[in-house]
């Protein structure tokens, strides 16, 4: 099918990556973290014009973050998911920015940084606060090991209201 | 014996020279104020004598020329404008003048203006015109060379054009004084009506009229020749600009009237007329119309406070030119009335600008804002001036604009009528731009300690504002004076009312009913709940909290949409045209010198040979 041809063409240009067709109009690639920039360059040449989102998946047990760059090609009308894996610890979760290839990436990188703490070198707006309010700025709330309920109790001081075993729920 | 006309003319110059010599802070201000007050006093005192005898004359002989001076109704009105606004400007300069250099030349320009208004023959008219131009040029030279050079070149070009025209007239008429010149032209007009051969041929008349038009057009700042005004008005001591734009531009207007007095009938018969307006007058009126629009639109797009008012004063002069251009007795009277009101509110505006710059030291709109609380007195004066310039009924601005509208539209001139209406809206527009940028909005932090106007400036502003209001409510006073110029009762009506037969305007009723309306509104206002004073940071900006450090105002580039709609027209600019001509002449001069005086003797020897050949050809 059409997607198969696209995947082979890209894999020929980027041997270091593996790619497969998940279903009609949906392809998937896995790329090592350090080669992400040139892979996105090849995608750009192969008419993947849009970067839709950079989503971060927190594999707590593997101790890794999985960054998924979701791209969309208007000409082929296919959606490509580029997966990479980076270590989970805050000081080691660092990625080069792809702002120069896809300008939209700047906001997605800030979003990932706000909620997961992934630091993208080269993105000058990294320190600029994005969505989170000042209180939650450094907490990276979407990480799996973030104790949401405890933080809510402390923040809104409604300690007595909840019963941990969730069977009598008092409004 | 020194006639009082001489005192009126030379008192300011004398005071200026004395102030320049005794360069002591206290004395020179006193001398200058006396210098400006003495002519004003004499003029007021001359009002009684004018009631009895038609005019006061005086003449002296100087190097073969017989200089005559006359004070009759028309020149008395213009001299009074010069007197009042000049006195106010001098009062203003007491606090803004830096050194005696400015005093000397400001008062010399006042002498020049008096001389121009009181002159009764062409040569003294030209001489005082030159003195006025030179003195005002020296005021600008001190601040900025390029602006002053542009101003000097254009106005000297105008002056020399006038000199050539005077020369041509002198060659044919043999005399300079207005009466004989007028008589000769009148006879000439009669001869041309009878069909016999005339003293001046058609294209000679065209040349004289063209030359006079350029000379007075430059000074009045009509459309193609207005480029000097914004730079000259902004690059000098601001309270002097009150006199510069309020009074000196009136010299240009007076010049246009001189054309009417001297050549009026002759040109009328020579070129015929469109509808009621003489064809040559229609040229002036049309130029005036374009000046209104160009001046107004450019004023709205300016970023510098002084430039805005410079362009606005050009566009207001456009009104006067339209009035004069239409040529009927009523329209000329309306034009003079607007000259008076323009001098009043424009003088007031420039004094306000002087106070702002004197206190804040800033001239760009983007660094100003929110001064209304800090300078309440100046703001009150500015409010009066804005109402007057925008032509809001109870003030003098409306009375004179109304007269011009009536006079022009009654003569069935649709295009001019449209231009006038457009002009009045533009006046409205750039005033609000000035008010918003300077008085309202969030105040930059460094302007927090600005004090209000110094005393002399405040008094000067007070005088002009008072006159604005008085002449607005009782327009009949001025109309009475103007009727004396033409002898017959053109604007009927009592002291409160102007009655033109086809239109009536009563200043008193309007004020009464406006006060009644405001009272009603005030009653409704005070019936409501008590009011709580709220700072600027408490305004609704989509709910976001507001801080004074980062002020969200569109003070810069206020009229961006207007600039986009006018983008096509803004590309043409006469300023760049004159710049290019100037640099072209300079390059030509450079190449010329390079080739002719190239320094080697052989070339010079060849020149000799060339001359010999010419002489041989000459027919030796």
């Amino acid at each position: 099918m059409r997607e198969q041809a696209i995947v082979e063409k890209i894999l020929k240009e980027a041997p270091y990556a593996e790619g497969k067709v998940r279903r009609e109009r949906r392809v998937e690639f896995t790329v090592p973290a350090e080669r992400i920039k040139d892979f996105l360059m090849t995608l750009k040449e192969n008419s993947f014009e849009l970067m839709l989102q950079i989503t971060v998946v927190d594999w707590l047990k593997d101790g890794e973050y999985e960054l998924v760059y979701q791209m969309w090609s208007i000409t082929h009308r296919t959606h490509a998911m580029v997966r990479t894996r980076i270590p989970r610890e805050l000081d080691k979760a660092r990625m080069p920015t792809v702002r120069d290839i896809y300008p939209a990436a700047e906001t997605y990188e800030r979003d990932a940084h706000d909620f997961f703490g992934v630091y993208f070198e080269g993105n000058e707006k990294m320190e600029m606060p994005w969505i989170l309010d000042d209180k939650e700025q450094g907490l990276f709330p979407h990480r799996k090991d973030f104790d949401m309920l405890g933080y809510v109790k402390r923040k809104y001081k409604i300690l007595d209201r909840f019963d941990e075993n969730k069977d009598n729920y008092v409004i | 014996m020194i006639n009082e006309l001489m005192i009126i003319i030379f008192a300011p110059l004398l005071a200026g020279v004395l102030a320049w010599i005794f360069d002591v802070k206290g004395i020179r201000e006193g001398v200058a104020i006396i210098g400006a007050a003495v002519p004003l006093a004499y003029l007021i005192q001359a009002y009684q004598t004018l009631a009895s005898q038609p005019s006061i004359q005086y003449s002296i002989v100087l190097s073969g020329f017989k200089f005559e001076f006359i004070l009759y109704h028309l020149s008395w009105v213009f001299a009074m404008i010069a007197g009042v606004v000049g006195f106010a400007a001098v009062l203003g300069m007491v606090s803004t003048a830096k050194d005696s250099y400015e005093w000397l030349f400001a008062l010399m320009s006042l002498t020049g203006v008096y001389g121009v208004f009181l002159a009764d023959d062409l040569i003294s008219f030209f001489i005082f015109w030159e003195i006025m131009t030179f003195a005002s040029f020296m005021m600008v030279l001190k601040y900025n060379r390029k602006a002053s050079l542009k101003y000097f070149l254009l106005s000297v070009l105008g002056a020399y054009a006038m000199l050539i025209a005077i020369g041509i007239i002198y060659a044919k008429v043999g005399a300079f004084d207005f009466t004989s010149v007028q008589r000769v032209f009148y006879q000439d007009a009669m001869r041309s009506v009878m069909g016999s051969d005339t003293l001046f041929s058609r294209n000679e008349l065209l040349l004289i009229f063209g030359l006079f038009l350029t000379a007075f057009g430059v000074k009045a700042g009509t459309f193609p020749l207005h480029v000097w005004a914004p730079d000259a008005y902004s690059e000098t001591n601001q309270s002097y600009t009150a006199m510069f734009s309020g009074v000196l531009s009136k010299a240009g207007v007076y010049g246009m009237l001189v054309i009417y007095i001297l050549l009026g009938t002759r040109l009328m018969y020579e070129f015929g007329n469109i509808g009621a307006a003489p064809k040559f007058g229609y040229v002036i009126a049309f130029l005036g119309g374009i000046t209104i629009i160009v001046g107004g639109l450019l004023a709205a797009l300016q970023e510098d406070i002084r430039k805005l008012f410079a362009y606005s004063s050009i566009s207001q002069i456009g009104y006067i030119l339209v009035g004069i251009g239409v040529g009927t007795a009523l329209s000329i009277e309306a034009a003079i009335y607007h000259a008076i009101s323009h001098a009043l509110f424009k003088g007031l505006f420039f004094l306000i600008v002087a106070t702002i710059i004197h206190r804040t030291g800033k001239t760009q709109f983007k660094d100003m804002g929110g001064l209304a609380e800090k300078m309440p007195v100046t703001f009150a004066m500015a409010f009066v001036a804005i109402l007057s310039l925008a032509g809001i009924p109870p003030l003098v601005g409306f009375a004179s604009k109304w007269l011009i509208f009536e006079a022009v539209i009654h003569q069935n001139m649709p295009i001019l009528g449209g231009m006038l209406f457009f002009g009045s809206a533009i006046g409205f527009v750039y005033l609000i731009r000035f008010t918003y940028a300077v008085w309202f909005g969030q105040r930059p932090t460094e302007l927090d300690d600005t004090k209000d106007a110094p005393l002399p400036l405040a008094i000067a502003m007070g005088i002009l504002a008072l006159l604005n209001v008085v002449f607005g409510i009782a327009p009949g006073i001025v109309a009475g004076e103007l009727n004396k110029i033409f002898g017959k009762e053109i604007i009927q009506g009592t002291i409160w009312e102007l009655n033109l037969g086809f239109g009536r305007y009563n200043g008193l009723f309007i004020t009464i009913w406006l006060v009644v309306g405001i009272l009603i509104a005030a009653v409704i206002y005070f019936l409501g709940a008590k009011v709580r004073r709220v700072p600027v940071t408490d305004t609704y900006q989509a709910g976001n909290p507001v801080t004074m450090d980062y002020n969200l105002t569109i003070r810069r580039n206020f009229f961006l949409p207007l600039k986009e709609t006018l983008a096509f027209w803004l590309r043409m600019s006469f300023d760049r045209l004159y710049q290019d001509i100037g640099s072209w002449v300079e390059d030509l001069a450079e190449t010329l010198r390079h080739y002719i005086y190239n320094g080697n003797v052989q070339a010079y020897a060849w020149y000799l040979a060339a001359i010999l050949i010419i002489l041989a050809l000459w027919g030796v």
Partner: protein, 311 residues
């Protein structure tokens, strides 16, 4: 004696104008609702709104000019009202001069803008800028229309124009003044602040522009001002273009004045309806589109009218 009589007449005109003005605002809301196939508020809704606004318990001010601007706007509208001939009742009818009334109808906008700008709110600044540009845009066709009128009738007093129309028939019957009337009607659209040209008080874009800072009683006074302005503008239009009303058929003068008021009312509502229909259909122009529109078609129409009138 004369003073009391004029005072009474002035009071009568004022009350009548405000009441009819509010009714006009009510009509506008009901007709627009009916066009949207909605039920629409009761006709006295504007009065209720004004009473609610005036009865607000707390009010704020941004300084003297913030209040004086509003009071000045209402005062100027009342002044303008007094000049326009209202059948037999008007007071300053003799001084009702075309140009004077045109200027007086524009002055309330100056007062509102002064008050809005002194509040320091950026929305108000933007609103003021757009209101100014709209004013600049409508001035050209308005000017030419007034010039056409002035030249056609040779006089500037509205009362004489009304009298002339009694004999010569309504002024829209003659071509030049018909063109002027069309242009003036488009200008009225912007003066009422109705849909196609109400960019200056665009609710969504700049949250009501100049009106953003006007709370309780300030907004109440502005509602009254808008009512009187509606009445005055429609009255002025019907006087100069639709022949005004001078009825002397009945015996007693009171019935005559009532008849003239009724006739005028009909003409005014007609003018209002035209404005409402245009308003309900068209989307809002941006400010430079509005300026370009006004400087193209209405100006050509009005200029043609003026030139024809001048011949």
């Amino acid at each position: 004696m004369m003073v009391i009589e004029t005072a009474l007449k002035a009071l009568l005109i004022l009350l009548y104008a405000t009441f009819v003005g509010f009714m006009f605002m009510g009509i506008i809301r009901i007709v627009t609702a009916r066009i949207h196939r909605r039920v629409g508020p009761p006709i006295y809704q504007p009065i209720l709104d004004t009473i609610k606004l005036l009865s607000k318990k707390s009010s704020i001010t941004h300084g003297l000019i913030y209040d004086f601007g509003i009071i000045y706007a209402l005062g100027a509208t009342i002044l303008a009202l007094m000049f326009i001939p209202l059948g037999g009742v008007s007071i300053l009818r003799a001084y009702g001069d075309l140009i004077l009334i045109t200027f007086l109808l524009e002055i309330p906008m100056l007062g509102i803008m002064f008050a809005a700008m002194s509040s320091g709110n950026p929305w108000a600044g933007l609103g003021a800028q757009r209101a100014l540009l709209t004013l600049l845009a409508i001035q050209v066709p308005l000017g030419f229309a007034i010039v056409a009128l002035g030249e056609f009738y040779g006089t500037f007093s509205t009362y004489q124009i009304v009298m002339a129309q009694q004999s010569m028939g309504w002024s829209i019957t003659s071509l030049p003044l018909l063109l002027a009337a069309v242009a003036y009607d488009l200008v009225l659209q912007a003066m009422f602040g109705k849909e196609p040209f109400d960019i200056m008080i665009a609710p969504g874009e700049i949250s009501l522009g100049p009106m953003v800072e006007f709370g309780g009683k300030h907004m109440g006074i502005l509602q009254i001002q808008h009512a009187i302005a509606l009445f005055a503008e429609t009255l002025f239009f019907s006087n100069i273009f639709l022949g005004g009303a001078v009825i002397t058929a009945f015996a007693s003068p009171i019935i005559n004045t009532l008849a003239t008021l009724v006739v005028l009312l009909i003409k005014q509502t007609a003018v209002l309806m035209v404005a409402i229909f245009i308003g309900a259909i068209f989307p809002r122009f941006t400010i430079d589109q509005a300026a370009r529109f006004y400087w193209k078609w209405p100006t050509i129409i009005a200029a043609a009218g003026a030139i024809l009138a001048a011949l």
